[in-house]
Structures are given as C-alpha cells and as structure tokens.
C-alpha cells in the first residue's frame, strides 16, 4: 500500500521533471529538472530495496555529473534556445522514436502480465552492498575490468587534451596578457 503510493508519487515526479526538462527553453532550468529526474529515480530504487544503487545514482549523476553540466551552463551563460526552423524534420523523427518506445513499453507490460507471478523471497539480498560487490568481483569481473580500463583511457585522454595548452606559442600569448594587466 505505502509502496504503491510512494511509487506513484516518485514516478509522477520523475515524469513531470522529464517533461519540464524537455520543454524548458532555458538550459539551466532543464538541468535542474534533470537533477529532479535523477533524485526521483533514486527514490524509486530505494523503494525497490536497492539502497546502494539509489545512493550511487545520487552520488554519481546528481552529485558529480550534473554539477559539471550546471557549471558549463553557468560559465558559458547560455541564452534561451530559439526554435530552429531548419530542424523541423526532427519533430517527425522524434515522434517516430517516441511511438517505438511506447510500443516497447506496452510490450514489456504485456510480457510482465503474461509471466507467472514469482514468490517474493524475503531473504533476497540482491540490492545489498555486499552482494553487489561479490557479484562485481566474481561473476562480472571482466566487465568491471573493461570499464576500469576505459575510464583510465578517458583520464589519459583528458590529461593529453589539457597538455596541449602548454605548447610554446600559447604560453607566449598568456604571458603577454599577464604583462598587459
């Protein structure tokens, strides 16, 4: 009972935030709405007895990635988006994709209704930190390693991109600016 109420509360909040993210012309409002979506999703994970995933969602998406997005928007001081006429065809593409997603959702509903109801195991610990950690370092070790290597590559790439700024001619320009001040 309480679970159902909470589900509809947070699901409604997530959908409202998602709609407001798409419809706002101001990029900062869109970013704030997206944070709202992430927080609502985290709350939904919590109601599914997966606290670790919920907190990771907040820590990584709401706490780190969106801060960078908000940062960029604030630094560039983006103006409100003007609707572009030459991108009109995107409405058709978006509508088509939306219909496909809707069809998929209905298919999932149909498939879920078809499957026999499984007994809920009260001792299930799938959402617990311990079981996630154990699964990550035994069964799914290879994907974890691959993701780790990819992240390392991304870090090295970022460092190389920053290093480019230290080429001699760029340094001269920045020094000249310093002298002007």
């Amino acid at each position: 009972m309480a679970g159902t109420v909470l589900f509809f509360l947070f699901a409604g909040f997530a959908i409202a935030c998602a709609v407001s993210m798409v419809y706002h012309r101001n990029p900062l409002y869109s970013a704030i709405s997206l944070i709202g979506v992430f927080l609502a999703l985290a709350a939904l994970y919590l109601t599914l007895a997966a606290p670790f995933i919920a907190i990771t969602q907040i820590l990584v998406y709401a706490g780190a990635i969106m801060v960078l997005v908000v940062f960029v928007i604030m630094l560039l001081n983006l103006d409100e988006d003007k609707p572009l006429n030459r991108l009109k065809y995107l409405y058709a593409v978006g509508g088509g994709l939306g219909l496909a997603l809707l069809a998929q959702t209905f298919f999932i509903f149909y498939a879920v209704l078809k499957t026999p109801k499984a007994e809920v195991d009260p001792n299930m610990t799938a959402g617990r930190t311990m079981s996630i950690g154990r699964a990550m370092y035994t069964e799914y070790l290879l994907p974890v390693e691959i993701v780790g290597v990819m992240l390392l590559m991304a870090i090295i790439g970022a460092v190389i991109l920053v290093r480019k700024m230290e080429q001699p001619h760029l340094e001269l320009v920045s020094e000249g600016e310093d002298e002007k001040e």
Partner: protein, 378 residues
C-alpha cells in the same frame, strides 16, 4: 481502531524521532554560532556578545528574530525561481544526513520498567496497549533510519548541497556571487574525492558502510586499534582537512572571502534566506563532526563503559550519548579554534593542495590499507 493504531505506530515513532533529532541538532547549531562568537572574541581579546540574557545565552534567539523581521530584498535582475530554490536546496541537503546519525547504542528494553506504573488501557483484542508499545520498543536503536549504506548516504546527500551554493551564485546576477558560487563548487567537487578516498580505509577495516556497524567494528577491535584513528591516522588527517574545505570554513573559506568577493555566493541574500544559508553551513559543520567522530573516534563507544553499566540499559545509553556529543563538541571547537588561528589560502594554492597533495595521499592510504587488510584476513 486497533489495526489503524498498529499501522500508524511506526509512523508516529519515526515522526517523534525526527522531531527530537531535528530539535536537538538545531539547538546545538544555534549554540555553535554563539560559541563561535564567544570563542573568537576570547581569541581576539574581546568579550563577545553578552547583552541578550545572562552571559549572552539568548543571543541565538535574538539573531533568529532579527533574521525573520528584517526586510527581504530580492534583486530585480535575479532569476527568481532559482533564487528562491537555492537556499532551500542548501538547507535540505544539510539536514538530510541527520536520519542516519548513530546517536547512541540500542536500548534493549527502554519502557519495560515503566509499564507497572502506567494504567492498563485495553484496545481491541490487545489486553494492554501500553505493554504492547513497551514490547515494540525493545531493541530500540538510537538511529532514525538503519540503512546499510550510511557512509555513502551522508557523502551523497552533502554532495547535492553544492547546487544550493552554485545556483545561489548564478541566480543572484552579481559578479561577486557568481565568482563565489563557482569557487565553492570547484572546491567542493575537488575535496569530495579526497574525502571519499579517506573514508575508504575505515570502510575496509570495518567491512561495512553502516555507521552503527562501523562503531561496533571499532568496539570489537583489538585494544591497539580500538578507535580507527590509530590505524587510519593518515585517513583521519585527510578527512579532517577535506571536511574543512567541504564546509567552506577557514582556511578554505574562499567562496565568501570578504576581502575579494564582498560576501561571496550569498552577497545578494538577505533576511531569512540568508539565515537558511547560514544555518546550512553550521549544520554541515555538525555533520562532518559526526562523521569524524563515528569513523575515527568510535562514535558513542567509550572503552570500559560496559564494565560500569549494563549494555543496553538506559544509563549506558545516556552515558554513551553524552560521550558522543562531547566528541562532536570537540570538533566544533576545533573549527572555531582554527578560524581564530589560520589565515586564508589563495585559490590556486587550494586547488593544488587538494589535487596534488591530498588526493594522492588518500589514494596511497587506500592502497596500503588494502594490502594490510588482505594480509590480516589471510
């Protein structure tokens, strides 16, 4: 009636717990402000506030009244919605970690001794509802929510608090506010990494992310590492330094460096909205003090106390709770003490210190701890 009561009972208990914790934390926060002004006064050879009430003890209430009654100015060119949202986000994120604070040890039977003195009230099929409540209260934890990821919860929720400051700086439409907001976000993101890495050592030693579990792990450790500050001294120092940076306190208070930025991100905020930011800062101080105490100083655990009082009894819980608060007060005092002692960093020094010194030290600490824990458990 009976089922309705039994369904609503946990809700009532949680509400009471939240109200009690909120009231307690608010009182401590209010008096931290007074203590800060007093102690800073003594450090600087002044007396400090002493006009409102005897010895100035009513000063926090006078301050609050002033904040409520002052004119609330909103800048004309500000982004209104975000301008109102920012202080709310800051204070909410500051208060949320309260639900996982371990205030004390669990009570085995807190109400059992009271039942004979209370009248017998039958309700539905239950012969005595008072006895039923006492039965429910057995093994009562002094924590509002027992979730097994308390450490992560605190880190995650406090990291959301960055938005309050960043959005406040942006929406005020003021260059000093924007600079303060940007500085603060950059600083908090940078030091969050070192903070998280310094916590990892403790989590590995305890083998759990639950705050009460970490305290129990410390209580059950051999005597030479009864408090995790001993095996994790480097982690403790890194945590303490990044905690100062996370809460924007001296010597890391660049977001509100008044000599350069007027008042930083809250330059344009007045009256109660400013008070919300002010409270959020002090509640955050309290939060990191709690984390310091729980992770490194054994939380409510006092060595040897179980020989004096029976574990689970009310006096044991009270004494443990008092010890918990005393440890927190020590850290709050440390905050004020350092504010009265140290000058402010320069911003590039702050960034270089966080990324080039603190983070490598924290990661090195994690690696060493991993090896030691692996060898110990072999």
């Amino acid at each position: 009636m009976e089922t309705a009561f039994k369904t609503a009972f946990p809700l009532i208990v949680y509400s009471l717990g939240i109200v009690a914790a909120f009231g307690g934390v608010m009182m401590i926060v209010a008096y931290t402000v007074l203590a800060e002004r007093k102690v800073l006064g003594w450090i600087q050879g002044r007396i400090g506030p002493n006009r409102v009430g005897p010895w100035g003890v009513l000063q926090p209430f006078a301050d609050l009244l002033k904040f409520i009654l002052k004119e609330d100015l909103t800048p004309d060119k500000s982004t209104k919605f975000v301008y109102f949202l920012a202080p709310i986000v800051a204070l909410t994120a500051a208060f949320l970690p309260m639900v996982v604070y371990p205030f004390g040890p669990p009570l085995s039977d807190p109400l059992g001794w009271l039942v004979p003195y209370l009248p017998v009230i039958p309700l539905g099929t239950e012969p005595n509802i008072v006895a039923w409540i006492a039965e429910q209260a057995k093994n009562m934890p002094l924590t509002i929510a027992r979730i097994d990821i308390g450490v992560l919860f605190v880190l995650a929720v406090t990291s959301v608090g960055v938005y309050g400051i960043a959005l406040a700086g942006w929406s005020s439409n003021n260059k000093y506010s924007l600079m303060g907001g940007l500085r603060s976000s950059a600083q908090m993101i940078s030091y969050e990494l070192a903070m998280g890495a310094s916590v990892l050592g403790v989590v590995m030693l305890a083998g759990t992310l639950d705050l009460n579990g970490i305290i129990n792990a410390q209580a059950n450790s051999p005597w030479y590492m009864r408090w995790f500050i001993i095996p994790q001294f480097i982690g403790f120092i890194v945590f303490l330094i990044s905690a100062f940076a996370e809460t924007n306190r001296v010597p890391f208070d660049l977001p509100e460096a008044e000599t350069e930025l007027v008042a930083g991100f809250h330059t344009e905020y007045s009256a109660l909205k400013f008070a919300l930011f002010f409270m959020a800062e002090y509640v955050n101080m309290f939060t990191v003090s709690v984390m310091c105490v729980v992770l490194f100083l054994g939380g409510w655990y006092v060595p040897g106390l179980s020989h004096i009082f029976e574990v689970g009894s009310i006096p044991y819980a009270l004494a443990s709770h008092a010890a918990f608060l005393l440890k927190i007060f020590f850290f709050l005092f440390l905050y004020i003490w350092i504010r009265g002692t140290l000058p402010r960093f320069r911003f590039d020094q702050l960034m270089a210190f966080g990324w080039k010194f603190l983070l490598p030290v924290a990661i090195g600490n994690v690696i060493v701890t991993t090896i030691v824990v692996f060898l110990m458990n072999r």
